[in-house]
Symmetry: D2
Subunit: 355 residues, 4 copies
């Protein structure tokens, strides 16, 4: 009954199998090996983007920060939601990687609207050299609050960015969960909607530690005047994120791509979350995020949470808890590929008893 | 016949076995899991340093840069050899991580002498606020040029550093190879000689991607005024080097430590290198690095190298090659844990034929 | 009729006189001269802080950023108001100088309340290594919105900071205007209220380009582990803000301190502003900032502003102007030491005619 | 008898006169004033560069670092001499401003030869993403060692830079002294020889604190992808080097340009230095720098230096002094615009007595 995070999950056997498969003989280091080349080709095919540059790094923070640094000069500002992971949970990594750029928070909480984004953009970049200059827009799908942007939402946000000549970064730590939920292709969720650099996350959805960064126009100028591909490669190395024995990070991503494993894992997590949501709603509990993939936020009396946790349910309360035991408290439940129906059933039983 | 790099090697079966062993059920993320705790305990025991803080990162560049940033303020300078990896092969990573510190090269090529280190220290930090302030000394063992510092060498370098109140970092990408060669304990090669932060490298010696950073005095003040342990943890996260599914990087290190696997792997690589060295010397070829572990630099006529490479030997020429085919050219050969006697025999046969 | 900015003003004759007075013979460079020593002594006396370290830089942005970098590690966050100059008008200078720290905006617009500051502090520093760590609190007096914090306000904000162990920076670009308005001593407005580093601004109040930074506890540890005084000196040099012919920046500050010139200049500017405020209120116009020093924000129909500007009044509209000529538009008027009664009279005449 | 530094000198009366002249009425702030515009026009005319962008900052360190940051991405390296001011005397300012670039020292001491520069360039930028990428070449004229590059020297260094596509920065802290010595035009010493950005220093040659940065191709791409002019302006503001009351820094430069004051001041300093050199040579003392402008390095027995200093001569010994009083010690003498014939005569008398 662990709903604490998709990071708590193990990895499917297929990942270990491919690790074993690639583990023989010598291989060229630093990404010049065959496995890496195959993965890049497969990602390009998956995204219907034959000209894209594809890179693998091991963490979402690295993937996001390196992407943003490639798009954002130190005297610019990044537009993101008030609860974006890059703002709240990366210990100033974007500021570090960009060399001191700013993050401008688009007001309105977890989900950005095109109007709020426009207001934020209008509020910056209009004071000559005195204020920061406008930089990239960063969208997260699934959001930190568990919401899924529709394709039309992404398109509308990208359209606002384009209007002001700003590039778009997609934080896709839960890319697969969003994509499966939307029933769309990776291309539709990214470059067809106007995204310039996308993170195709693998770690939260079953890999050990592998995220693919897809740069759709690698020849476009980056924040340093180099091309985006050149600058990304240099920044990866300079940050210590270029793996010498690169075949092992590539092997994970290969397993993820073979037989659409990534879709199956995400579908499983989303399905479990849906079961969970229905169960909680049946008890009359409020679910806060209306659109969902594999994560839900719900309210229950504080004492119910305490009872459920005492009974073995592992999950986190969110925000500041109330003072009294009877007051409603917000909590987050995350399902992952390995969450079982039995765990859901048990959790719902425990929660019903706790109420 | 691949002698290009220890990074080209596969991983021993034990590593895959431990990965499989830890791969069940949920585990706390970001290093709060049991495997990570066990590894930290084992590293502390191995280094006879019960008070040390132990962290795992995936690359040597990250391990070095994070360690140096913890010891070096932006207005200080790091003392290292002219051919240190941190200077030549990390694309300005130390400058990035420290926020713009300098590297002061200790003259004399690959190996630092205490006298040359002292001269370098005297040359900095004596111009008030105008020059950079003196910062940490960084020693590499095995060096980039394939030399092994004796324990007395390390002690003498650390003594000079101490005289000026400077902390010492040990780049141990090939820690095991040096340690086995010296027949000493990890403690003797580090804190007993005066080292403050050591990198206990795993990747080049058989792991997929895992390096342990050992901070011997975690409560000492770091370059930010936080303690070294606190600052290291914050810098790791801020750089995107904190792995969410941390048990998998820990599992690799666990395999490395169990049954002293790290020693066996290094011994194997060093032994093969010794066989190789004797074979080349028997042909009358000059070996440049007198002390050695698993890496040797030797000279042969350029045409001999070309012939050997054409016959399937994979290795790199070093420095600028000569113009004429008969002139001697420097080359590097690296053995790793998986190098076989058969490969050595074949290579020597090929080289003899090529001469 | 120039009310655009206090930066538009000339300098009083006393400043030129002292420049001429110090301009003979050789003087030690980089601040080792007698004029600089005298100024430091006088500032210490003025602030009743015999142990303080005093430094001179030429711009408010430099003074603020260097102070904040001395108090804030790269993985921390600075708490400031939503409209702080350090956030809106310094082109990411604090992010640059701190090496990538964050600014956390205290909600509520121009003026911080202790409650809002506490809420902001509680919202950060509580996510372990994932979020930024809590760093300094930055207060501005006079605020960007023209408001003057009372001594009790500053004390209350500092008390909240202290409760969480956070140091306090005071942006005093208009220090003199606030101090005169409050009728207090510099000591009361700073260290007696709990401020750790104060900027005693001179430029906006009549100097060419000189700001004094007063570090009340120079031996306290800075963000680098050096003392605050050492680190400030190193950061000043490293940023190119250490003037070689330092006597000339010191001479300006000397003129400012002699015969309390700083108070007279500020009093003059504040008095003019009061006359202006009364005149506008007499016309029934709304003045937005209730507490004031030398700057006021008022609303008038857009067409009235346009007419006044056409008649020669120089000042800026603030925020986004309305679409229709009859709608009220916000504008800022700044008085400085050289503003004359005649200018005020003329402006009020022009504005009355324009309404 | 102060020969310690040209920074020790006062300013000529003309500077104070122009400060007084511009000191009336309101003026637009942040460089939008008429004086600044006039200065920019005059600098463009002086350099025969009608398309150049011209900026004023207050220190040489700022001028150099901002120029280099405009030309150098964080993952590149700057080529300069072993004793360049940017390397030895700016407390890591170039590393700070560039966001962590490296400085590659061109071997050979104070003066770079084209061959040594080429060797340094060949030694970098050839390790793919592992080493730093090649960045700008920085030339200093007059050098820190008091040598003057001939026009053909500058041209030859720029030719090597061009061969590898690298831009060139000229540190002209003593630009006027070199230019007068060479009897050339500012254009010949800069863009006609191949320089991309030049610092036209004023402070060491008589101003209070003013340096002009001349960007010859302001539309060329900078290290951020912005144009060089845009990026320089943003970096100036972000570093706190944009003066609000800009007319006063401009007034200094205006005085410098009127009636070729800059030439007269430099000629005076150079002439005095020549007299000094002849006098020392007549005593049989060795002058180390063969080409000279206003600065000379000479050797005399340590006891002679001590005696001369005891007799009131102010100047610095250079490098590590010898242990015995009879051994020769290196010293630096700097003449400035205000150095008198009487001072020279007295110094020579004192030194002769001391020998």
């Amino acid at each position: 009954m662990n709903f604490a995070s998709d990071n708590a999950s193990p990895v499917p056997q297929q990942v270990l199998d491919v690790l074993a498969r690639v583990n023989s003989g010598a291989a060229a280091s630093y990404g010049a090996d065959d496995v890496t080349a195959e993965v890049a080709d497969r990602v390009r095919a998956l995204f219907e983007a034959p000209g894209a540059a594809v890179y693998l790094v091991a963490t979402g923070t690295a993937a996001n920060s390196l992407s943003l640094a490639t798009l954002c000069a130190p005297f610019q500002t990044i537009f993101c939601s008030e609860h974006a992971h890059i703002h709240e949970d990366e210990c100033n990594a974007p500021e570090f990687y960009t060399g001191g750029a700013k993050l401008t928070l688009v007001r309105g909480g977890d989900v950005m609207t095109p109007e709020a984004l426009r207001t934020a953009i209008l509020g910056e970049g209009n004071r000559g050299v005195h204020g920061p200059q406008r930089g990239p827009v960063s969208i997260t799908n699934v959001t930190e609050g568990g919401n899924v942007y529709a394709l039309s939402d992404i398109g509308a946000l990208c359209a606002v960015a384009r209007e002001y000549g700003l590039p778009v970064h997609l934080d896709g730590a839960r890319f697969a969960n969003a994509c499966v939920k939307l029933g769309c292709t990776p291309a539709e969720m990214t470059w067809k909607a106007g995204v310039d650099i996308a993170v195709f996350g693998g770690t939260k959805n079953g890999l050990m530690d592998a995220e693919a960064v897809v740069i759709f126009d690698p020849e476009a100028p980056a924040s340093s005047g180099f091309t985006r591909a050149q600058e990304f490669e240099l920044r990866v190395k300079r940050a210590g994120h270029l793996y010498s024995k690169h075949r092992y990070v590539a092997a994970q991503m290969l397993a993820y791509l073979e037989d659409d494993l990534w879709r199956d894992l995400a579908q499983q997590a989303n399905d479990r979350c849906e079961t969970l949501a229905r169960g909680l709603q049946d008890m009359g509990l409020e679910i806060v995020n209306k659109t969902r993939a594999n994560m839900l936020f719900f309210r229950a009396p504080l004492r119910a949470h305490k009872a459920a946790q005492a009974a073995g349910a592992v999950y986190a309360l969110w925000g500041n808890p109330p003072e009294k035991a009877d007051e409603p408290a917000l909590a987050r439940l995350v399902c992952n590929w390995s969450t079982t129906e039995a765990e859901i059933t048990e959790f719902l039983k425990v929660m019903r008893a706790a109420l």
